[in-house]
Symmetry: C3
Subunit: 216 residues, 3 copies
């Protein structure tokens, strides 16, 4: 409705953002895959190289975020609002950060066992990463993909609710079964970090919804 | 100052959002009332039905949030910025989520006693819910109610400060008095969830302030 | 690109915000200095007056935040988007809040020792406060200072990463060395509050980046 809006019909939009975001979600899915693999390890020795790879993904993600920001500073007309591009990049970064945060905590706190709830969380996060990948890739053709992206955002909302339930059930089980308080505190924090990763995945869907709403 | 702004004088605004938000804050206040009642229960048996009702409120809130989002996708001219409508709905949802989160934790962790600090928090949250109800209902006639809404936002800010103090005092008392570490951890997390609910109530006031600021 | 943008060339901008923000970051740096001093105290008696001064800084910050909001309601043309001014004020407030939160926890929980990791955090937060001061002061002449402000935002991002590492290392050391579980929980929460203060400092840099992006 404003001049910006009219201009967008006539001036070619900068499409350089799409490959950057597509790369970013690829890194995210890769990290989520690695995290799932981490849950199947049986020893600290097996864990070390996987945790390093997750860290490498986080650094790769950081670089993409900086590139997106640099691109924003050069672009005249962007495919969607500048602040939303920025928000999308930051929120993707947050998901990766928390995944890496959980794996670093596993490395440093050395919990005696990786409880089944952690494996369940890794699967939930992987699902979230795949939905994020789908929605973000869909943005290149947001008009056509609108309904599918909205569906995907609803799924991300459902995943977040599942994350809350999984957290509460997991911690409650921990209170019942873990008699070593220090081990309890360690695992509780790892679970909390994973729950936050799922929360952050929902924040991504909120940004995507904002982008779609502005296009409506 | 932009075309949007001028158009808003001539094109009828979509008023469908107001009843949705008014419904949403009603659900929020109801949940806060239920949570206060929960604090007066003496046994797990008494708690169960109230916790279920709080959960039902959360689900009702979720549906309203989805309706608001659906409405956003259909509306041409909105009474305030689309992203602020979206933010307002999400932030209301967050308050409800944390209230439900606290009551679910009470259900699952089964703390031996519900400490007085929890009751104090339930009263603070109820006050916050009433202020939110007042401000959100005031938005239908934001020009006339401006000063009163701003006052209400200041009260929400004060409530958040009180929440911080209550949290710190409550936890500090817990450290002094609770000798069972597991019970301490359980109650600490329930208190933390309530403190977050109060935080999220202040986030609602931030969105409302943003809406007013844009109208200035 | 919209009318707002054009108007900004011809209508004098309200510069009243700059002194307010400059005052705000001064208070922030002062609080960070006090927090560093707090880490060098040897007894509870020495701590008390410093903690009171930090609290006084927080109250001073709150007042500036309210003044900024009041100014927003009076100003016709603002030097950058109204919502970004609001966000910047809130995010500065959040950093101060968490610094005060950490010092209040030290007062109330009375941990037996202030571990070296707390001192390290206080130095990181001081660095963050200085970078924030530099960037915010730079906004008065954002065009000229653009590159330097961006550099400063990148430093704030690095500081946040360091905060994550410091947190994880600190907690991991705590698990290894602190045998008193209650003391462990107390110090863990103080460290977590400091880590959040650093997180919030990065949020400030995100708002500043948004402001720069919109000017691009």
């Amino acid at each position: 409705m404003n001049l910006d809006y009219l201009l967008k019909f006539f001036v070619p939009k900068d499409t350089a953002f799409f490959p950057l975001f597509e790369h970013d979600v690829k890194v995210l899915v890769k990290a989520a895959e690695l995290f799932k693999t981490l849950m199947d390890t049986q020893s600290i020795e097996q864990r070390e190289p996987i945790i390093k790879q997750i860290k490498a993904m986080e650094l790769e993600g950081d670089e993409i975020t900086h590139e997106i920001f640099g691109q924003l500073n050069k672009s005249f007309i962007t495919p969607f609002d500048r602040e939303d591009i920025h928000e999308l990049a930051s929120s993707l970064d947050d998901v990766l950060d928390h995944m890496n945060g959980a794996s670093q905590r596993i490395r440093l706190y050395k919990p005696k066992v990786l409880l089944p709830v952690l494996k369940e969380f890794s699967e939930l996060i992987y699902q979230a990463a795949k939905e994020i990948e789908f929605s973000v890739n869909g943005l290149r053709n947001a008009g056509k993909n609108r309904e599918k992206i909205i569906q995907s955002c609803i799924v991300l909302n459902t995943i977040e609710n599942k994350g809350d339930d999984l957290y509460q059930m997991g911690i409650s089980k921990l209170f019942d079964e873990e008699k070593d308080t220090i081990e309890l505190i360690k695992t509780k924090e790892i679970i909390a970090t994973l729950e936050k990763a799922v929360d952050k995945a929902e924040d991504v869907s909120d940004v995507i919804k904002t982008i779609l709403i502005k296009m409506a």
